[in-house]
């Protein structure tokens, strides 16, 4: 018996209990503090950008192109480019991701092949974003000769978002009660009819939440589009999918690190960063609230 335990033995039961309660109260306060740190970090970043950036954001800023070698003017081409990239990426990833989830959840039987598919999807989720950029450069831009273009960017971001969509779609399919499947099959429907008429409609809202999360992630990414789609500056709005484009995240990076006059363009940087987080956090908040409503209605 250790000396500490011996000492504990001699304490009256009530005081021993009191000390355990005190230790627990302290520890729980600490846990709570740690949790609060996260909230503070979020509030700090968002609050800082709002305070510094809101003055820069006005109608001109949102509706004009950059001027005077990007030291004045607005960010319209960047906003347009970012939205095009994000929606394009979802156009690629959403159908593929939903199909993969349907296969994994409805058709596949547990076994080696499914294990390998799942392992690759998990690994795909862990591939660094800059490596997706390298892949996009080597495969889409150079090998398939797409050039630095909106299309190459969408495909690269689409490949990157695939695991997010698959995960959300599988969760949505899993939440459809087994009785739906049994009822449909008992009425004589085939597997495909069951999936198309019963499961997909029931799971669609959950899948769309995943789609919105994927959208916001694609909109905020920088590294995958640096070599595949985005350029420093282009005076015209994108006209075709083979045009190179400007994008918000890359614009922020360029202004903050490589601009001709970094200090002078600070207000533009704050403004662009504010618009980007408003876009990204807005989509996320929408998805979170919608998902909470879905869960409550179930």
């Amino acid at each position: 018996m250790s000396p500490e335990n011996a000492a504990r033995k001699t304490l009256p039961a009530g005081r021993r209990h009191g000390r355990r309660r005190a230790v627990q109260a302290t520890a729980f306060a600490l846990f709570r503090l740690f949790a609060v740190v996260n909230g503070m970090a979020l509030a700090l970043v968002v609050g800082f950008l709002v305070v510094r950036g809101w003055r820069a954001v006005n109608l001109t800023f949102l509706t004009q192109a950059p001027m005077d070698s990007m030291t004045a003017g607005g960010i319209l081409p960047c906003i347009a480019g970012t939205l095009l990239l994000a929606f394009g990426a979802m156009l690629v990833a959403f159908p593929l991701g939903v199909a993969a989830a349907v296969y994994l959840n409805e058709y596949a039987r547990p076994g080696l092949i499914v294990r390998i598919i799942r392992l690759s999807i998990n690994n795909l989720a862990g591939v660094p974003s800059v490596v997706f950029g390298l892949f996009g450069l080597a495969f889409f831009v150079i090998y398939l000769k797409m050039g630095v273009s909106l299309l190459a960017g969408c495909l690269t971001l689409g490949a990157m978002s695939l695991p997010v969509i698959i995960g959300a779609s599988e969760e949505a399919l899993k939440s459809v009660p087994q009785t739906y499947r049994e009822a449909s099959l008992a009425l004589g429907a085939t597997k495909w009819q069951t999936i198309w008429r019963v499961l997909l409609p029931a799971a669609l809202p959950g899948m769309l939440t995943g789609g919105i999360l994927g959208l916001s992630r694609a909109a905020g990414e920088t590294a995958p589009i640096m070599f595949t789609a985005a350029v420093f500056f282009t005076p015209k709005m994108p006209k075709s999918i083979f045009d190179e484009i400007m994008a918000l995240p890359y614009h922020i990076y360029v202004l903050a690190t490589a601009g001709t006059n970094i200090e002078k363009t600070r207000p533009l940087q704050y403004g662009s960063a504010l618009v980007l987080i408003a876009l990204v956090l807005g989509m996320n908040l929408f998805a979170i609230v919608w998902r909470a409503r879905l869960r409550r209605n179930r």
């Binding site: 709570r32 949790a35 970090a41 593929l96 598919i117 392992l119 490596v131 590294a223 940087q269």
Partner: protein
């Protein structure tokens, strides 16, 4: 009805092909990294590539030693782990075991929004707020260093560590908690002695995936790590992680040149690092999974 069955079979096969897109993408990524990265070993020996101390890709003759880059990546990951692991784990324990349902409804979206912050915005924050702060507080020549990068990376890995650990804690059967409480243990003792040990495999996976994410993060380290390709001697030294090197130099590396191949080789090394992290995480989650309630 043979027609109907044939149709079902075709549909089933189609779905299988579509589901293989994940495997195909992963294979294509690996293939292109190695095809484009391998030619670097025609001009540089394997040893001088991995153990070389000097990264001077544009001098003549160029030096392609990535040791300092690898150490740079590992050092920022270590700093971020020191912050993110306790923070993420404590938050997960709070959310899963201590918080009231009401608090959880507020705190969980906060963590999810933290995960959604674009990395370029976090990097920007590190540049304009944290860097000047560090520079003044510690009287440094520059605030762009390994410490700053590690702190900003912690932002990115806390949500991963937290939400995956939380899932692991939820998976612990309630009967274990009840048994512990019934034996007279306090709530805290139950968490530390029963719930955490029972969920250790899930927590291990969470930590590894969080660190893997920090290692692959690009924009943050590109903007705040300082960018000097040297082995750091202190937290306040500037470093140049692998991801930052690729992102900073790819634009000016001529396609097909040795610099271009060297950067793809760095990408391949990075890919192998994160691939290994993920395999270990997968192995842990299968090997040490809590099976039933008797295996404690």
């Amino acid at each position: 009805m043979p027609g109907r069955q044939a149709k079902e079979k075709i549909i089933r096969r189609t779905f299988f092909v579509l589901a293989s897109a994940g495997i195909l993408t992963l294979l294509a990524i690996a293939l292109f990294l190695f095809i484009e990265g391998f030619p670097i070993f025609r001009g540089t020996s394997v040893q001088s590539f991995f153990l070389g101390l000097y990264w001077y890709p544009t001098s003549d003759p160029p030096d392609f030693g990535i040791l300092a880059l690898m150490v740079g990546s590992l050092s920022v990951v270590a700093v971020s782990a020191a912050v993110a692991v306790p923070l993420g784990l404590a938050t997960a324990v709070y959310l899963a075991e201590i918080a009231s349902p009401r608090m959880r409804e507020i705190a969980k979206p906060v963590v999810e929004l933290l995960a959604a912050l674009p990395s370029v915005v976090i990097g920007f924050f590190g540049m304009v707020v944290v860097a000047p702060f560090l520079q003044q507080t510690f009287d440094l020549p520059t605030g762009l260093n390994a410490l700053n990068a590690g702190l900003m990376l912690a932002f990115m890995s806390v949500p991963t560590i937290c939400s995956l650990s939380e899932d692991a804690l939820y998976a612990v059967p309630n009967s274990l908690r009840e048994a512990s409480l019934a034996l007279g243990a306090t709530h805290l003792e139950t968490i530390v002695r029963v719930v955490l040990p029972a969920s250790i495999s899930g927590i291990g996976t969470a930590v590894i995936l969080g660190l893997s994410r920090a290692m692959g993060e690009t924009m943050v380290v590109l903007m705040v790590a300082g960018g000097a390709a040297m082995i750091p001697e202190s937290l306040f030294d500037s470093v140049r992680p692998m991801t930052a090197t690729i992102a900073a130099e790819m634009a000016e590396a001529p396609v097909g040149g040795s610099h271009y191949h060297a950067l793809f080789a760095v990408g391949a090394v990075l890919f192998l690092f994160t691939f290994a992290f993920n395999l270990v995480a997968d192995w842990i989650s299968h090997r040490f999974r809590q099976v039933g309630e008797a295996s404690l």
